[in-house]
Amino acid sequence: MKAALSTLDLQNYLGQKKKIMKIFAHFCSFTPEEILHAAGILPVRIFGSHVIEKASAHLQSYCCSYAKRVLEEGLTRPLDGSVFVHSCDTMQRLSDIWGYSVKEEFHETLVLPVVIGAGIEYLTKELDRFRKRVEVFSGEISDNTLKESISIYNENRKLLQKLYERRKKGHISAVVVDKVMKATMTMLKQEHTALLEEFLEEVDPREYSHPRLILLGSVTVDPYVLEIIEEYGQISYDDLCTGSRYLPLVEELSLRGIAQRYQSMWCPCRAVSVPRGPHILDKIKEYEADGVVLLLHKFCEPHLFEAVSIKNTLRENGYPCLQLELEDQPSPEQIRTRVQAFCEMLEG
């Protein structure tokens, strides 16, 4: 995929796929993509347009840029359908706003429980309701097909885990990892798996240099932010929705299994019995990192809430941390200045 990666044009890919299958938009790592896959639908995670115009007529200035960008995308380039999950208050309302203004054949919201553990029964039934809603659109989804789809996803995620292991042994740039992750969230899984296998055979991790960073946040919408960071330091691990949080496998090949997988995914939108700080400390040690970069979206409440306890834990343990808040139109120059200063400080 090395060659394929650098030449892979995801927009073009989708254009081709659109001719032969239905494509649904989704916005969250808690989307049961496996069910859509089993229905013969291509689930595509949306990262949004870069320019926000039409969306401003629907969303206030104090709404996060991720919501605005994806709505812009829906308004300008609608797909065949969309699947929302109840992640945060913003997404909950965006689902309705989207339903009012985007022309599509299918629209549904999976109402996730906030406490995945205690809500596992509820969630399994909610997944079943969702499956039935999809079946009305696509025709029956047999248990066997569902199992096959889950296996296909597991296979892909195993390879992604391998990618992360390789990255741990030597540096693979975060820009490349981000490309692989975005590709897997866009492509038909089995096709991505084939490319990823090739890629893993060819990839040749480089030596680590310093400073080594851990990147935390939700979604990386603009790859150029990663490029800027990696001009000054190396991201050796991430805790992102578009990164390591996507990796867990489904153990039991059923709807309940899909629900259980969500239990192992940390997300600030869910009830967190354990704060994230200690986990990050473990990762810092495991990856011998020098510092942490928090990549947040301005107005993103769940992450902004959690950021405080994470920063406190890091401070108490003597680890430097840089918080970058992305606005509607992030200024690359400003990001560069701050990242550069932070990395210089780490190099001391």
Partner: protein, 397 residues
């Protein structure tokens, strides 16, 4: 605007409510912090003292101290873009003070995400800060209709909460007391609904500014006899106003509907502004959020679950629109004022589309004003005034 005599009554009631909170620990009573949308009826049989951080934050806001407390939370690292009720509460906690001397330390927290996801994060933080248990009831959002599995899920959690409360208080759950609480709660909601219905009279004997003040009891004292008695008195006063033809706003000429949480620190200025144009805000979506309960004492847990699933901020825009249109017709309003409240995303996001739908369905004009409920630093008074004046002038024509 004529002040209601019952205002003094309310002041006493809320004063003694907070006083009870302050003396609770002295009398060996447990203090619970409760979110406004949580099924407090479950707590009453345990004789715990319930306090509402949201109500407390609104008091700080009305006393114009909100921004000051917010700044303290911001200095601790909390973003200015987080809900100002939370920031205000956090700041007051850290400073240990407020217009009423700060909220007493909780022994437990009881919260429900049927108003927002903020409550979850807020109470998690408070629970860590005070090192006390957080009883959380997860209420799945209602997009089209309540699902059976959501009712099952919430009912099971309510039962679980009862067990937790038993071990927390060392008391057994008293079913009879519970049913009596539900009856009182139901009565209270009926009386409150009746209060708000007075706004349908022409001229209206009350404005939503009265309702914003008077709602303190339905939020904080639901399920108690005191609240029931209070609203009976209030309704008598309103009744006599109607008899005597006393209007809340003299020469009422424009009737309006308000949407969202009040701008607590600007209540007086805003009410005077509307009054100047003989405009009466006869109803609002906020205080009506507590006017919908249909509790069934025959099947208490499930009915509690259903009720708290369907509260205003836990339903889709379609369902909100239905309720708004019903208010517009019932109160026969000429226009609508939407407070686009930076703090509250579940309330405010979607207003642009709702405004468009309302205009299409009912033909009434809608004005959207941007502010914040507690944080006065974002309030652009002049701009607000001009916008409202232009709207009222166009309506008066």
């Amino acid at each position: 605007m004529k002040k209601l005599n019952t205002y003094e009554n309310l002041k006493k009631l809320i004063g003694s409510h907070y006083m009870q909170g302050k003396t609770a620990h002295f009398f060996n009573q447990k203090v619970g912090w409760v979110s406004s949308g949580a099924p407090v009826e479950l707590l009453r049989p345990f004789d715990v003292i319930t306090l509402y951080p949201e109500n407390h934050a609104s008091i700080c806001g009305a006393a114009k101290q909100g921004s000051e407390f917010c700044e303290v939370a911001e200095a601790e690292g909390f973003s200015r873009d987080l809900c100002s009720y939370f920031r205000c509460d956090r700041g007051s906690t850290l400073l240990g003070t407020s217009p009423i001397g700060g909220l007493p330390r909780p022994d437990f927290l009881f919260g429900c995400n049927n108003i927002c996801g903020t409550i979850l994060k807020w109470y998690e933080i408070a629970s860590r800060h005070y090192d006390v248990p957080f009883l959380f009831v997860d209420t799945p959002f209602v997009h089209t209709a309540i699902t059976d599995h959501a009712v099952e899920y919430v009912t099971a959690q309510l039962q679980q909460a009862v067990e937790s409360l038993e071990s927390l208080t060392g008391r057994e759950f008293d079913e009879q007391k519970f049913v009596r609480t539900l009856e009182l709660s139901k009565k209270c909601v009926e009386l409150w609904t009746r209060t708000l219905e007075f706004g349908a009279y022409k001229p209206s004997p009350l404005t939503c500014f009265d309702a914003f003040t008077q709602m303190a009891a339905i939020v904080s004292l639901r399920g108690t006899q005191e609240a029931v008695t209070h609203y009976m008195t209030l309704n008598q006063e309103l009744e006599s106003r109607v008899q005597k033809g006393i209007a809340a706003v003299e020469n009422e000429n424009i009737r309006l509907l308000w949407d969202n949480i009040p701008v607590w620190y600007a209540m007086r200025g805003l009410s005077e502004l509307f009054e100047k144009y003989h405009a009466c805000l006869v109803a609002d979506t906020y205080t009506n959020a507590w006017a919908s309960a249909a509790l069934d004492t025959g099947n208490p847990m499930e009915s509690l679950a259903r009720n708290y699933l369907e509260i205003y901020l836990n339903i889709s825009m379609d369902l909100m629109l239905e309720r708004i249109v019903a208010l517009i017709h019932r109160f026969d309003v000429d226009g609508m004022v939407m407070h686009s409240n930076r703090s509250c995303k579940p309330y405010s996001l979607g207003q642009y589309d709702l405004a468009r739908c309302i205009k299409e369905e009912t033909g009434i004009p809608v004005v959207i004003i941007e502010a914040d409920m507690v944080d006065s630093r974002v309030y652009a008074e002049e701009q607000m005034r001009t916008r409202i004046e232009a709207f009222l002038e166009s309506l008066g024509e």
